[in-house]
Symmetry: C2
Subunit: 496 residues, 2 copies
């Protein structure tokens, strides 16, 4: 008779293999699939999701999980069992009828939102969004009870396991106090410098692609186990043996695609570095959560590759790629270009100084809505209040206000804070890495990312989900998330 | 309580949706997947195949199928139940252990074959091939018993439902009597004409691709529901809403890729034309079998598009694509190029006159091997005897002899005859189509395939598997497969 634990491993492996197949189907949908295939693909995805869900929610799961507690040996088996239980709680807490209702409401709301956004018509999507919020609260309450945490934390736990809003409140409050003055100072410093100038295009997509893939290889992307394609919304998908990143090109601005490629490569390197073998298909072998995943993309994009050292290395590559010549292609201008600060309405266009403000606004709003302290009808005004308070600007309409992000309209509540937690984690990890290995920074400046990657593999990637985010951070940097590190990074880069 | 029949429809729908997902995974494997992803993909494919198999082989299937017999109403439900039973017999007749052993033996033998073929070393692969043959015979016997037919017919039935070797014996015997003299005459006629000249290349792949997609659109390929990519071995995959064909380009010969594109487009048009709605995911809604599928590709490639009419229409497109000029680009030379006859060793390079000889040789050999009338060790000699007898040539080694095709080494026994049955069916259907609608032939000559496609939709595609191959042929052409039609086509094209 196999151990209860071994039976669980077999079930989670099945769910993992189905998840891998799903990630290929998702990638194909975003990059290759002709429009006509959408409905058939939705059926395939729904069926595979149902089968993966069934694999880890049998009636005997509670008994197996309980029996396995006395069987596990070693840290990784123990951690795996903990993560199995988390998966099961999330999967089993919500009744099938509610899962189905949410999936339908999300598709419906997303459709309405796609019309409402260009029309800046929040009222049009409000009824659908109310439905989403109501179902999300129901699901959140069920998960909160099963996890023994508050409702917002139960939703957050889906994206950032063990993430707690009490911790986020503390670091975000600190940032909220810091940002308005800091941004004003950074803009003053910037105004006193020569303006950043975008080199004149156009930048042919084929050239952009070659440059991007050259930089990907430099960072450590393994094309034997991955590929890069085009999609409307860049993402990183797949699994460690077959990681797929996507890019959106703009012929007038090579820098946006290049930085996007670097960002997604950061995600990809995390996936490449996850443990293989037995843990590859187990919950403990997965990436830790969205905070840590975003930290890996932002460590590459914001910390390593917007540095003067990397830009000194990369400037000749850019010049070569686009036959660039003259002062616009000098390292100084390219650095100013990579570190421009600008108060804007749109989160996805924001620089690293103003980005946290966008996230803090959303975090406060979604928490109030989920906890019933605010009515959805008041969202547009509260949104604009937040922009006035933190960024000193007022969105002219809801298109560039509360209608801009798909998250809430697609049912993703509790996701937003992981962006800024990731940015802070990136700063803290990068600082610790440079302190641990003095060759990391010179390596980056000569296009040798091996020292950095070795440190990340040992301290982050290879740990997978065997530890919590907090434990990984403490082991790697000596302390839990500390907003002082992120603030110091911003001050050094933008005020010195 | 739903009807037993309705329960069956739900199960077969599940298997169909899994099959659709599998076809995307297969396409990706052949066109996009980086090498490193092979092992993970094999796991996904194995799991989805197992789940699809389980969906239609439950313990209660025999009872449900029996109960459904009294419930079905209308021709399509009745036909669907018949095809469900066929699926179930094939899936359930073979014990799981044997299925597994075959899958393993096939992978293993294919690996050995990949080495043995370039080395012309049949002895190296013989033990693995013995294992394959032995397992195939076991499976064939189990299926033969369940279907109440002979062992070869049981294997054939997997590819050509209701196909019977007695019928094939008759038409192949007729062709075998006809071919040697006919080929000799065709070569004489050809020798008396100006030689076909391949226009001078190189032919840039991008141009070949544009020309191919232009011709695909002309034939009726719907890019809203399909796409075209590159793979080492061209194929047509996907499903009616998302049909995917692939091409292999040769920069020195544009004609091979172009004719390949037309061939796969013929397959694709069949898939596009299958019924939608309720029958889309049911056995009755599938393409009829490999004979009919091959007839659709060969009808386009051999019948419609190697005709002088089509080449008159297409010659200017080819000239435009490759800046072609001069007599090599004239319709006469292009027609001679498209209808060259040559005795050769390699089936996949063969013209339509010699192709049947390659198939007849393989058919006779695989039947003897399956029925135990020949030992595998004697295969190379028997193979070469066949080539001497039917084509008057002797393969210099087994690389261009009995090692050339993957079929047997990969476990596909009973497949070969469908190629030539398809070619004969194509001639018969095309003749009937032209007779039924006098605008079909002039349409092709002006690049208007709508009349031909309309006839095929009504008489072949839309019938799906509601009738047998024989019934479809009789309804469409007034008679069962008649080798005289194919012979007349060859005589008209190559001797007149």
């Amino acid at each position: 008779m196999p151990r209860a634990y071994d039976q669980l491993e077999a079930r989670f492996k099945k769910a993992s293999v189905l998840g891998d197949a799903l990630s290929v189907l998702h990638w194909d949908m975003a990059t290759m699939m002709p429009d006509g295939g959408a409905e058939a693909r939705a059926e395939q995805v729904a069926l595979l999701k149902t089968l993966a869900h069934q694999a880890v929610t049998g009636d005997d799961m509670a008994d197996l999980l309980a029996a396995a507690e006395t069987e596990v040996t070693g840290d990784w088996e123990r951690a795996n069992l903990r993560e199995m239980r988390r998966d099961w709680v999330h999967a089993a807490a919500v009744p099938a009828g509610l899962v189905d209702a949410m999936a339908k409401a999300e598709s419906a709301c997303e459709m309405v939102w796609r019309q409402a956004r260009p029309n800046a018509d929040f009222a049009a999507v409000l009824p659908s969004l109310r439905e989403i919020l109501s179902l999300t609260i129901q699901a959140g309450q069920a998960k909160a009870e099963a996890l023994g945490v508050g409702i917002y934390d139960a939703l957050l736990d889906q994206y950032e396991p063990d993430g707690r809003s009490a911790d986020i409140d503390a670091v975000f409050a600190d940032l909220e106090g810091f940002l308005p003055d800091f941004i004003a100072q950074a803009l003053d410093v910037q105004a006193a410098r020569p303006p950043a100038r975008l080199p004149a295009g156009p930048f042919p997509i084929e050239r952009q692609k070659e440059l991007g893939q050259r930089v990907m290889a430099t960072l450590g992307f393994d094309f034997h186990c991955g590929r890069q394609d085009v999609s409307a919304h860049p993402f990183c998908g797949g699994y460690p043996e077959d990681v797929r990143i996507t890019t959106r090109y703009n012929v007038d601005d090579f820098a946006s695609a290049l930085m996007g490629v670097i960002h997604e490569t950061g995600h990809a390197l995390y996936d490449f570095g996850l443990p293989g073998g037995r843990w590859r298909t187990q919950p403990v072998g997965r990436a830790r959560g969205m905070q840590m995943h975003e930290s890996q993309s932002l460590l590459m994009e914001m910390q390593a590759c917007r540095s003067p050292g990397f830009l000194r290395y990369a400037a000749p590559l850019m010049q070569e790629a686009f036959d660039g010549d003259g002062p616009d292609w000098g390292t100084d201008n390219l650095y100013r270009l990579s570190t421009q600060v600008k108060r804007g309405f749109i989160r996805v266009d924001a620089d690293e100084c103003t980005y946290p403000a966008h996230v803090i606004i959303r975090y406060g709003l979604e928490k109030s809505l989920i906890e019933g302290r605010m009515d959805l009808a008041d969202l547009p005004e509260a949104w604009n209040d937040g922009y006035r308070r933190l960024l000193g600007i007022t969105p002219p309409d809801d298109r560039v206000g509360c209608l801009q992000d798909i998250h809430w309209y697609g049912g993703s509540w509790g996701y937003f804070p992981t962006y800024t937690l990731g940015a802070m984690t990136a700063a803290q990890l990068f600082g610790a890495a440079k302190a641990a290995d003095p060759d990391i920074e010179p390596g980056i400046a000569r296009g040798d990312f091996a020292p950095l990657l070795a440190w990340l593999r040992a301290n982050v990637h290879g740990k997978a989900s065997s530890l919590s985010t907090r434990e990984i951070l403490i082991a790697a940097t000596g302390k839990p998330l500390d907003s002082a590190v992120f603030k110091a990074h911003l001050q050094r880069r933008y005020l010195d």
